[in-house]
């Protein structure tokens, strides 16, 4: 059993699990919406004193912060106890495309070129991570949700705004991948 769990999980089992997590939160009277935590953290850090948007009862969102802490713990458990340590099995076409941009084939989960300590302490490497994070944080709040809030929760409820947001996710993602990546890397 443990050997089976240690293998990379299939898309269908992973999809079932994500859906189960969403319905578990719904059953507990909450919603699956991860990026709300970013706003909660701004509020908990005292942002409400300066910016109205962060002036709300953030303590009502503590359950979601606990969910976030759990996610960190889950990552730790997955690495320590449930991993075989093998590289991500992406398609050969992606490996070929990425090699043209200077990325080596995967030897783990993330590319060394972006996530190694060396990369972090180079100007370009730092800017890539910082600007990437900045856009995710800004965009998710502007759009009112991220992958969990829109692509999973919103689409499950057949919400048109969520469909528009997901279309936006792809416009941005394709623009970055096909237009900006060749300029950046």
């Amino acid at each position: 059993m443990l050997e089976l769990i240690k293998q990379p999980w299939s898309w269908w089992f992973s999809g079932i699990m994500i859906s189960t997590i969403m319905f578990t939160l719904i059953y507990f009277g909450k919603t699956f919406s991860f990026s709300s935590n970013l706003r909660t953290i701004c509020a908990a850090a005292g942002g409400g004193k300066f910016v109205n948007f962060f002036s709300f009862d953030w303590k009502s969102q503590l359950w979601n912060i606990l969910f976030l802490v759990g996610a960190i713990l889950g990552g730790f458990i997955a690495n320590q106890f449930l991993s075989t340590g093998e590289a991500v099995q992406i398609s050969q076409n992606t490996i070929d495309d990425l090699s043209k941009l200077g990325f080596a084939a995967p030897i783990a989960v993330q590319p060394e070129e972006l996530f190694s300590t060396e990369a972090l302490f180079s100007l370009k490497g730092f800017l890539v991570l910082a600007i990437g994070g900045l856009m995710v944080g800004f965009g998710s709040r502007y759009a009112g949700g991220c992958t969990s809030g829109h692509a999973i929760s919103g689409l499950s409820d057949l919400q048109v705004p969520s469909l528009i947001a997901v279309i936006g996710f792809f416009i941005g993602g394709l623009l970055m991948t096909y237009v900006l990546f060749p300029l950046i890397f």
Binding site: W11, S35, A71, S156, D157
Partner: protein, 137 residues
């Protein structure tokens, strides 16, 4: 103690993100290059089951564990904020290879550079809060 179940749900979420490889920059690149079904399969399965489940909840007016009716709130109607906000999010998603959930899963997994990505995501959200009223919604 009443929060313990959310800690547990989050832990399962973290394990799922890691074991599905959805928290890998490589998988996000593969998705945006349409070179594998993997990510579409994950999101597609979750959405199809989600649609069925939400339909059942609404049809049979199911209640949550407190006995309250489960209600779904419609998001406010607009195009601009979802399209522009979504596009900015997508740019960041492809660049960092991570949306907010997988960022913290990566931190737990040992990719400490993700702390920087996550801190800047918080700053990005704060910047949105500052200029929110000047943006088209």
């Amino acid at each position: 103690m009443k929060f313990l179940k959310f800690l547990f749900a989050g832990t399962v979420f973290g394990i799922v993100m890691a074991k599905s490889e959805a928290f890998s920059w490589f998988r996000i690149q593969e998705m945006f290059r349409f070179q594998a079904f993997h990510m579409y399969g994950i999101i597609g399965t979750a959405v199809i089951l989600g649609v069925i489940g939400v339909f059942i909840i609404k049809k049979y007016k199911l209640r949550d564990f407190n006995g309250n009716p489960i209600s779904f709130f419609s998001k406010e109607k607009s195009v601009v904020r979802y399209l522009i906000g979504g596009t900015i999010f997508g740019l960041g998603w492809a660049l960092s290879g991570s949306c907010p959930g997988p960022m913290v899963v990566n931190i737990g997994y040992g990719y400490l550079s993700m702390i920087v990505v996550f801190l800047f995501a918080i700053i990005g959200t704060y910047m949105y809060g500052i200029i929110k009223d000047k943006l088209p919604h």
